[in-house]
Amino acid sequence: MRVSADTLRLAVPVASFLLLLGGVFFLQPRTMSYNGLHLLFNLAVPIALATIAQMLIMAVNDLDLSMGTFVSFVACVAATYLHDTPLMGVLILLAAIATYAALGVVIYLRNLPSIVVTLGMSFVWAGLAVLILPVPGGTAPEWARAVMISKPPLVPMAIVASALLAVFAHLLIMRSSLGVLIRGVGGNQRSVQRAGWSILVARASAYALAASFAVAAGICLVGLTTSADANIALRYTLLSIAGVIFGGGEFTGGRISPIGAVIGALTLTLAGSFLSFLRISPDWQIGAQGAILIMVLALRLLLNRLESKGRVA
């Protein structure tokens, strides 16, 4: 039986996800229901969207340290302008996406370190968020709320949304010619250039696409929480990076996996619930999350070893 490298790459995230899910079911059988799953994975949807956004930036060998503040900013816009004056809200979000595209262009043209530029931008987004919403509050747009709390038959919304996102991102990034171009830039920029493609367009679209996914993450988040504040999603920066790596992506070389990234985000969310079901002392909750991260990565190493052994034999 031949298994493609991409499928193998997915094996670890899927295995660790199922293992953790089994653990949660074992500890708290009541989660094995429609409502239980809904509550388990509710907050995973915005995280999965932010992870796909981070993955697009990482596909062109950059890193976005402003992801968390940007999603917070979007959440603030969604809870104020997008609710009160929808047209204005849409314009602001479009401008934010255009800003991201411009960042991609500037980083390429001036050969800047993306880490520093996005670090600077994280202050800008945080500042804008504070200006828009100095105190926590605002109201989620009705339609965002309606989508997030809707109850499709048989399978909870969170699962449906994650699955749709995984399929959509997979088609967009692994199957479309734009996706191939973006990953090509991460793999070998010069050869893509020699082949006659515009690096500028590729990088600008990678950043714009990333911003679009991040905007979706912010709106989803507000749909869930019904109100926003300027610090609502700060932890998304590290979560999104961890989710991409978890899902089998690499920091360089355009090696990414959209389906893996979504599963990575779900796994990270699940790890939190798993720990609270274990009744670990609150002091060690964060530490246990670190331990789970390490265990999963160890598992990945083990499977990689098995894979290379299989090749020799």
Binding site: V106, P113, I115, L128, T252, I286, G290, L297
Partner: protein
């Protein structure tokens, strides 16, 4: 003059000086001594963690130590708890802080090496565990530092803060280490090309191990001093030093891709980062505008500095 302008670190000093002048100008020179001493003191803490982070970044792409804040917190907490305000235990406290740093450094590199995890994820996972350990030891207690040590960290010699003198001493050692010892040459070589360095017979693993030890130890010393300076260890005391340690290194003209580092730039960038905040405070701007300005200035500096040479990503 021309050779001076070509130095990668000159821009951070130009930026720091202009912000300093802009602040002094507003207050008509009234804040001359106070501002300069405060800038030197707070810059010194950034310099200490920045130097450690610089050695790690020198190792090449993907090498960043995210456990710096957690290490600072744990070292400060444990050392203060041990000293319990006794002047006679100051040296013991320092040794304990160093031991914490070395411990974290060893574990960090063990993860990187044994599990072949990218350093960013390894140090991130480790930082969760270290942070938990700090929460567990701290338990909301606020122990006062020994009086003699608190006095030392908050007073000045010859008009210059003691902390700044200490940081200067460590900077000189770091400069010698980087430019005048085989170790400095080796880590630069590893940063430029790891396979090439290995071919050339450099003990890659040993050097990387020492570098992660060094970074964690410096973070621990910084945490020890900061806890004494601020009159007690707080659980969030390291938080702002995560991005700060990376920002001062990169703004200081060290190549993010590794292999080309410098120490003086860290001083310029640290002074700059502190002065920007105090300048914006002096102008009496709101939190939102202040954040936006900070971000804009960081991006402006990196744009200016990038003019010096291409290929410094």
């Amino acid at each position: 003059m021309k050779s001076l302008m070509a130095k990668p670190w000159i821009w951070s000093f130009v930026a720091a000086l202009s912000v300093w002048l802009a602040t002094i100008g507003v207050t008509a020179g009234a804040s001359f001594v106070g501002l300069s001493q405060a800038a030197l003191t707070f810059a010194a803490f950034s310099v200490l963690v920045g130097i450690g982070q610089m050695f790690v970044i020198t190792l090449g792409p993907g090498n960043i130590d995210l456990s710096v804040p957690a290490t600072m917190t744990l070292a400060g907490t444990v050392a203060l708890k041990f000293m319990d305000g006794h002047n006679g235990l100051i040296v013991h406290g320092l040794i304990i802080a160093l031991a914490v740093g070395i411990g974290v450094g060893v574990l960090n590199y063990a993860l990187i090496k044994a599990l072949r995890i990218p350093p960013i994820i390894a140090t991130l996972s480790m930082s969760f565990i270290v942070q938990s350990a700090a929460i567990w030891t701290n338990r909301g207690l606020r122990i006062k530092p020994p009086q003699a040590l608190a006095d030392f960290t908050t007073s000045t010699s010859f008009g210059i803060p003691n902390i700044a003198l200490l940081a200067l001493l460590i900077s000189i050692v770091a400069w010698v280490l980087l430019h005048r010892t085989p170790y400095g040459r080796w880590i630069a070589a590893i940063g430029q090309s790891l396979p090439a360095a290995r071919m050339a017979g450099i003990a890659v693993d040993g050097n990387r191990f020492v570098t992660y030890l060094l970074c964690a130890s410096l973070a621990a010393v910084c945490g020890y001093l900061l806890a004494c300076f601020s009159g007690g260890a707080a659980l969030n005391m390291g938080a702002e030093y995560l991005l700060m340690s990376i920002a001062v290194v990169v703004i200081g003209g060290t190549a993010v891709a590794g292999g080309d580092s410098n120490v003086p730039g860290i001083w310029g960038a640290s002074l700059f980062m502190f002065l920007v905040v105090s300048m914006l405070n002096t102008y009496g701007l709101g939190a939102g505008v202040r954040l936006i300005m900070t971000g804009a200035i960081i991006i402006a500096v990196i744009l200016l500095a990038s003019g010096r040479k291409a290929g410094a990503r």
